[in-house]
Structure formats: C-alpha cells, structure tokens
C-alpha cells in the first residue's frame, strides 16, 4: 500500500486542564472512505477541529502529516488551501443568498473585486451536476431542504479542489432517501479519487460505505479496523465504543419504588421552526414514586425536546397528548402551570437557560418561587437569605456566601445553584437534563448523591443523559429514545451499554 494521505500521531488537546484528547492516532489511506465512530464526547469533533486548523498549531500536541508533508496549520484557511475541507453538522450556508453566491462565498469569481456572475453561474452549474442537483444556481438556499443543502456544501467543497473531505454527522438530520443519495455521492467521489472522513453514529451506513474504521473512546484511539481485509461486525464496533470499566462512581442506593405518579400519554411534538417535521412521535412514559428513570439517546434524538415540551410547552408546536399526575390529567401548558403542578425542569444549558449569571446565588435560588419569600409581593430579604444559605449548606455550594455572583462559580457549583432553585419550588417530578454536563468527577458524585437523595424522599426523577455509564449507575429503568420514539426499555438489572447502543444503531435499519 502506498503512503497514507493523512497521518495524525499522538494528538493531545486539553481545555482549561480538562483532557479532551489524550492520545489519538489516525491513519487515512488515499482514496478511501474512513469512518470515525465513538460515543458523544469521545473527542471526534475536537479531533476534526485540530485537523482543520480551528485549533491552530501549538494549541495541541502531536503531529499531522498530510500528503507526505508535515503540517502546521494556523487556521482554517491554511488547511483549506491544502485541500482539507470540513463540513460541519450545523451547515454553514447563508440562507438568503443564492446557491452560486454560497458556493463561491469568500472565493468569489472576481477580478479586482468585481464579480463575474456569468462565470459563477456556469461553474456552479457544473458543480451541481457533479453532486446530482438540478436546481438553478440562482435559487436561494432557504428554499432548499436540509438534504439538498448538504449536497450544496459538498459542491462548495468540490469548488475548492478538495482532496480530503470531512463530513461530521452528515445524515443526522436527513431522511432515508436523502441519506442514501448522499452515501451514493460519497462512493462516486471516491471513484474520482477524493478521500473522505465520515463521522457517524449510524453503523449501518458505515458498514455500507466505509473502507476502514477508527474508534475513539474518552479522547483516545482504541481500535483501527480495516473493513477490506475482513468483515467487521457491528458488535465488534459497539464493544470498542463503550468498553470501559465501571468503577464505584455512584452512590449506593436502595430504591423504594411506589405507585405510578407521573405519566405522559400519546405525546407528539412538531419542530418549532419547521412544523412539518415531527420531533416526538406518539410517546408514552411514566415514572413511579421514588423512581429514577433514565432517557438515553444520541444528540438530536429529541430528549430535550420531549422534556421541554412537557414543561410548559417551552419547545415545539402542535403539541398533542396528555400529562397525568396520580392518574389525573393536568395542564402543563405554561411554565407557571407546570410549576404549580410541582414539575421542575433542570435545563441542560445552565448558562443559557438556567441562571441569571450577573446575579447572586440567593437571587437565583428564589427565582422560580419568589412568592414563598415575599409578603404582598415585597421580598423579605431575610427570609431569602435563610433559604439560600440553607441550600448552600445542604448542597455544599462552595462560595464565600450566598451573595457571590453565579458567573464566578465553577460549573459544578452553578449546577447546584440551578438545582437549589428547583428544589426550592418543592417539585414532585424532577426532569434533569444532562445534570452533570461539563462538571468534574468530584462534583459529579455530589450531584449523583443529591439525585439519589431526591428519589429517596419519594420524588420522581426523570434523568436525561448522553453519558451511558451515568444512566446505568443511577437509574432504576432506562428508556432509549431514538428519532423521536422510544425504541427500547431496560430495567437496571438487564441494561448494559451494548444493549442500549445496539437498540439505537439497529433501530434505523428497518
């Protein structure tokens, strides 16, 4: 075999002391389709950002060799110049510009700043033909579907004489027909000598097109598999993806599960911006007293959408279905009503949706239940102080006092403030969305202990998480959500990472 087109060796990268990549090796042969797989947070996107120069040379350790030469990219422009082009999951097209304007954005067909529209048009037409699109180059991007937009991105890459094309989850938001068309196109490009790196969760797609597979886990390469030499089974890939040891990272708890308290029936939610897309499809769900129920699933499976649509319809349109508490139908149509029915939602995005960062711990703690610290709508600052101080001690929030501004707290302490806020509203049902995202291991254990305590008090906990070990370690029951429906449900005893991953990756096939 000839020299590989790309070699990345010993790549290490950390953010503020947190290791994102600890030791990644990647070898891509010229003219192949190379798949990179791994769980959420395994480091796939970070690796691609290192490769494409988003993190310039010097911000990471390790070596990149491309086409036999050492590379020290200072920015995206450098890597694009060499023919490495990345297409992100979030498409980077300007919606209100035409196809040809988008394709040549930053690379205009111009002489001395004056654009040659005829040349743009003709070249765009040729590029569109290559990717199998029949749209006019003057059509606006906003009028195209997501699938076609993805193809436009590829056409844009082709216009820059791409040698190595990187696609980050290209089919995540595509339907089956569009996905197939895209995969066909990748095989076609391969025929024209273009090398391709494909990041995907969908193992069935990967086994369709990939020539080799690299598996990442916890920021390191754990396996490099060659699909040409022997058939690689999905089992093998899944085992590599999840195979980590479960240590004693979770508090011991003896579940004391009672009757069914919280129930959601026939819940259907449409996309907020594109109402024709159904995000949650006819979902049923229940939680019993003192039970912790986990919702597993990949990013984009609809977990947050499900939670927020239940909590005061803060996400989605055309929501239908019913929410029941103790067997009685309740109205959760606004956040106020949801809170009044003793439901709480702890957001996955504590900075964006959870805290008013400029304000103090005390201020944030009482925000969802101001009535309880005020008399005739005048706030009793003494009572507010006592409440906040109480939670600060109970949840062990590390700060000089409750008048510390939340913006200065660490992620773990911020999360505890958000938890305080919702605990102060005294909920019966707590929906926790990624409760430990971006939190260090020590603080995680504290959060887990709080969650266990809440369940022991007889509250219902619904826990959404992308970290499977956390779900396995904490939950009494795990429901697997994929593409808006529950595809599997496991009890704590029968659940395993392999089973969950398998139920996700095989659900798309049929």
């Amino acid at each position: 075999m000839s020299e590989p087109i790309l070699e990345m060796r010993g790549i290490k990268k950390s953010f503020h002391g947190v290791r994102a990549l600890s030791n990644v090796n990647l070898t891509v042969q010229a003219g192949e389709i190379h798949a990179i797989v791994g769980e959420n947070g395994a480091g796939k996107s970070t690796l691609m950002k290192v490769l494409s120069g988003v993190y310039p040379h010097g911000e990471f350790e390790g070596q990149i060799r491309f086409q036999g030469a050492d590379c020290q990219f200072k920015g995206i422009a450098d890597s694009e110049h060499k023919g490495i082009i990345i297409i992100h999951q979030e498409l980077a097209l300007v919606p209100l510009l035409s196809i040809s304007e988008n394709i040549f954005l930053g690379n205009e067909q111009a002489t001395r700043g004056i654009i040659d529209w005829t040349a743009s048009f003709v070249k765009t037409q040729a590029l569109l033909k290559k990717v199998g699109l029949k749209e006019s180059p003057n059509a606006l991007i906003t009028n195209l579907g997501v699938g076609k937009q993805q193809l436009i991105e590829i056409a844009k890459a082709l216009s820059k004489e791409v040698k190595l094309l990187i696609l980050d989850e290209p089919t995540a938001s595509l339907n089956e027909t569009d996905s197939d068309a895209l995969l066909e196109l990748l095989l076609d490009l391969k025929g024209h000598g273009i090398t391709c790196i494909l990041i995907s969760h969908k193992l069935n797609e990967i086994s369709k097109v990939a020539d080799s597979i690299t598996v990442l886990r916890d920021g390191a390469t754990v396996a490099s598999l060659d699909c040409r030499a022997q058939k690689v089974s999905e089992d093998l890939v899944i085992r590599h993806m999840v195979g980590r040891e479960m240590a004693d990272r979770y508090p011991k708890r003896t579940p004391n599960i009672g009757e069914k308290v919280f129930e959601v029936r026939n819940w259907t939610v449409h996309h907020e911006v594109h109402p024709e897309r159904v995000v949650i499809k006819n979902v049923d769900l229940h939680v019993k007293r003192g039970e912790i129920v986990g919702i597993a699933g990949l990013m984009g499976a609809g977990r947050t959408e499900l939670a927020m649509s239940i909590f005061g319809r803060t996400y989605g349109r055309n929501i239908s279905g019913e929410v029941l508490l103790h067997g009685k139908k309740v109205d959760t149509g606004t956040v106020e009503k949801a809170i009044a029915n003793r439901i709480a939602y702890v957001t996955e995005d504590r900075k964006g949706y959870g805290l008013v960062l400029e304000e103090t711990i005390a201020w944030n703690t009482t925000l969802a239940n101001l009535g309880a610290v005020s008399k005739r709508s005048v706030i009793d600052e003494g009572r507010e102080f006592k409440v906040a101080e109480d939670y600060r001690k109970k949840l062990n929030i590390r700060s000089p006092d409750v008048y510390a501004h939340t913006v200065n707290l660490s992620g773990g302490n911020q999360q505890k403030v958000v938890l305080s806020k919702w605990l102060f509203s005294d909920p019966e049902v707590l929906i926790l969305d990624e409760p430990t995202r971006g939190i260090d291991v020590g603080a995680k254990f504290e959060i887990y202990s709080i969650i266990a305590q809440l369940a022991a008090e007889g509250r219902c906990v619904l826990m959404i998480s992308s970290e499977m070990p956390e779900l396995l370690g904490m939950c009494d029951r795990i429901c697997v959500l994929n593409e808006g429906s529950f595809v599997a449900e496991f009890t704590a005893a029968e659940a395993s990472q392999e089973k969950i991953m398998r139920s996700i990756v095989t659900s798309g096939v049929n």
């Binding site: 909590f311 005061g312 803060t314 606004t334 956040v335 106020e336 949801a338 809170i339 939602y345 957001t347 964006g352 949706y353 959870g354 805290l355 008013v356 960062l357 400029e358 304000e359 201020w363 925000l367 969802a368 101001l370 009535g371 005020s374 709508s377 005048v378 706030i379 600052e381 003494g382 102080f385 006592k386 006092d401 008048y403 806020k421």
Partner: protein
C-alpha cells in the same frame, strides 16, 4: 493585644478597600456628580448653588428625571424607547387642546392625558412584547407618529396659556403656613425631616441585614456615606428654602423616585424585570411571564412620558409643536451614565436619577459659563461615551 487590634484594624481597612473596589460603580457615580457640581460651582463663581439657580436646575430637569425612571425599567428589561420625547410633546399638545381650546377642568384633563399615555405605551409594547418586533424599530416608528400627531393636534401653532392651577404643577412651591421671612420654614423643616427619615430607614435596614449576616458594607463607610447624603439633602433644602421653598414638582419627583426604587429593589415585580433583562430564557423557564412583563414596562413608560409632557407644558405655559424634541436622548443618556447596561438586566433607579442630574448640572453649568450650545453637545456626548467606557472597562477586569 495591641498588635492584634492593629491586625484587625488592618483587616477591616482592607475589607473596606475591597468593598469600595467592588462597589466602585455606585460610589463613583455619586462622587462624579459631586465633583461636577464643585467644578461648575468654582467655574461659575458660585452661581450654580445660588438658590434661584438651584431651583431652576430642579425645574429644568424634573421631566427628564421622571422619564428616566420609566426608561430605566425599559432598558433593564432589555429594550429601548425612542418615542418618549415625541409622546411627551404629543401629550402636552393634547392637554393644551383639552384645557385651553375646550376649556376642560385641569383634573379630568390630566387624568385623560395620563390614560392616553398608558394607551400609547400599550400600543407600542404590544408589538414589542407579543410580536417580538425590535423595540428600537417600534419606538422609532412611534417617535415619527407622535411627533406628527403633535403637529396635527396643535395645527402647527402654539397653544396657551394654561389655567393657573395647572401651572402650579411646575411653577408652584409647597405652601408655607409658618410664614418664614427670609426662609420658608415649612420647606426647610420638610427637607430636614426627609434627611432624618432617610437616615433612620437606612440604619434600620442595615441593622436587619447585619442581623442575618447579609451585609458586608463596612460600618464606617456606611455611616460616612449616609451622613454625607443626609447633610446634602439638608443643605439643599436650606438653599431652596431661602428662595421660594421646595417646588411642587420636586415633591412629585421624590415620591416617584422612592416608589420606583422600592419597586425595583424590594418587590417580586422588580426582581422579575431584572431576570427578564438578565436572561430572558432562564426567566421564562422559571415561570415568569416575560411577554406580559415587557408589555407593562412600556405601558409604564407611556404614563411617565405623559406626566413629563404635562410638567413640561405647565412649565412653558404653552404647548408648542417643538416640545419634547430630543428629550429621548437626554433620558436614555441619563440611564446609561447611571450605569444601566445596553444589553439589559443591569441598572438602578438612583443611578438613572444621578445620571439625569449629571447631565442637568452640565447643561446648566455650561450655559452659565457661556459655552455655546454647539460645544455643549460635543461635551455631553463625550461624557456619555466616557461613562460607558468606564463601565465596560470595569466589567472586563
């Protein structure tokens, strides 16, 4: 023992130092107002603090202060209102038509005008709050609309004079049943009482907070600040009392100030407005009806604009088509000089009031010094920029 006391003293001094550093903004604002006053007092050879001028200063700035109270809420909630000048002009015009042309009694006419202000605020707030149209655009439209309507209502000419009772709103002073000769004793006593009440309420509030361990303002700093403040109030009321006494409009202004300060700092309503401006999504997810709240801040702004329009009309004793021209700039500048953040969530009522007086004292002082209106504007613009730069710089640190 001695060294221990020394150490605690040093620690206390250090704590005081860090407290001042952390609260630089609030002290800095008050200090700059004092500095600007002293500067102009010297530059104008003592004219600034003459009782007549001081009275004028208050009368000239009252309507700006009144609108700044509403504008602060609008800005804190994350919006802006460019229409306040035009609205106040339009309401002044309506008042003139009702009272002068139609001969209506001033009480119902005033009430109608305030209600009209609320309606105007509601009309603008509706688009901002429920249709999510940027407030900048809605109120820019409002600015044009009400400027035009003021012209239309007045048919292009000035209308006046107003009934004498109505004029008292701006030009009247509180009565003096004690008949002081050189000094309006009632006014002076009222001023002293005010200073005393302020002092007592501050001390009480602090005692309560200290009891809960909530206050970390060093005692010395606290006493010094409030004594200076009380002394200033007493001194000003003495000066005012040696002329014609406390103007009616000052009483209106002070009452509104107290109410708005209380609402923003102590009530759930105020708390929710800050949450709305600080992080609308978090506020909404905490069960706060953010849309309705934005709507009401605009209604409130409309009422205060109307009140300001009435005060201004009463002061000029005519309604002119040009009334209210450019007020919005002074009002918005007052809020930003007073420490409000353009991105919402930050700002204090007292800050906006001090900001308004900084602008007012500069206007007044520069006019006395004979600086032309041209360079006055240049200087005011630069002061606004400097104040906000200091804010941004402090935040970055």
């Amino acid at each position: 023992m001695a060294s221990q006391t020394l150490e605690t003293q040093a620690a206390e001094a250090a704590a005081g130092g860090s407290f001042i550093k952390n609260n630089l903004r609030e002290y800095g604002l008050l200090l700059s107002l004092v500095a600007i006053m002293v500067f102009f007092q010297v530059q104008t050879n003592g004219t600034l603090f003459q009782p007549l001028n001081l009275t004028n200063l208050i009368l000239q700035n009252s309507y700006i202060v009144v609108m700044a109270l509403g504008m602060l809420l609008v800005i804190v909630s994350g919006h802006i209102d460019l229409s306040v000048g035009s609205v106040s002009g339009f309401i002044g015009a309506c008042a003139a038509v009702l009272m002068v042309n139609k001969g209506m009694h001033f009480v119902p006419a005033t009430l109608i005008c305030l209600a009209l202000g609320a309606l105007i605020g509601a009309a603008q707030g509706y688009w901002v709050a429920f249709y999510k149209i940027p407030s900048f655009i809605v109120t820019l439209a409002g600015m044009l609309v009400f400027k035009g309507l003021a012209l239309a209502v007045l048919e292009g000419s000035s209308v006046g004079p107003f009934p004498a009772e109505f004029q008292l709103l701006s030009t009247g002073f509180i009565p003096d049943p004690l008949h002081g000769e050189a000094l309006r004793i009632t006014s002076f006593v009222a001023g002293l009482l005010m200073a005393l009440v302020l002092l007592v309420s501050k001390v009480r509030g602090r005692a309560e907070r200290v009891q809960h361990g909530m206050d970390n303002e060093p005692a010395l700093l606290f006493m010094a600040k409030n004594l200076v403040f009380a002394a200033m109030i007493a001194a000003f009321s003495y000066l005012l009392a040696s002329y014609k006494g406390l103007p009616n409009v000052l009483i209106v202004m002070l009452l509104l100030m107290l109410v708005y300060d209380f609402v923003t700092s102590r009530t759930t309503l105020g708390r929710r407005i800050y949450a709305l401006g600080g992080n609308e999504k978090a506020a909404r997810l905490s069960g706060i009806k953010t849309d309705r709240l934005s709507f009401y801040t605009f209604v409130n702004m409309g009422v205060l604009s109307a009140l300001a329009g009435l005060i201004f009309a009463a002061r000029l004793n005519t309604a002119t088509p040009k009334a209210g021209l450019g007020f919005e700039l002074d009002v918005i500048a007052a809020c930003f000089i007073g420490g409000a953040s353009a991105s919402g969530g930050v700002g204090k009522v007292l800050g906006a009031v001090i900001g308004a007086f900084i602008m007012g004292v500069m206007n007044n002082g520069m006019s006395i010094m004979g600086i032309g209106i041209d360079y006055q504007q240049v200087i005011k613009g630069l002061v606004l920029l400097a104040a906000v730069c200091v804010d941004v710089y402090n935040k970055k640190k």
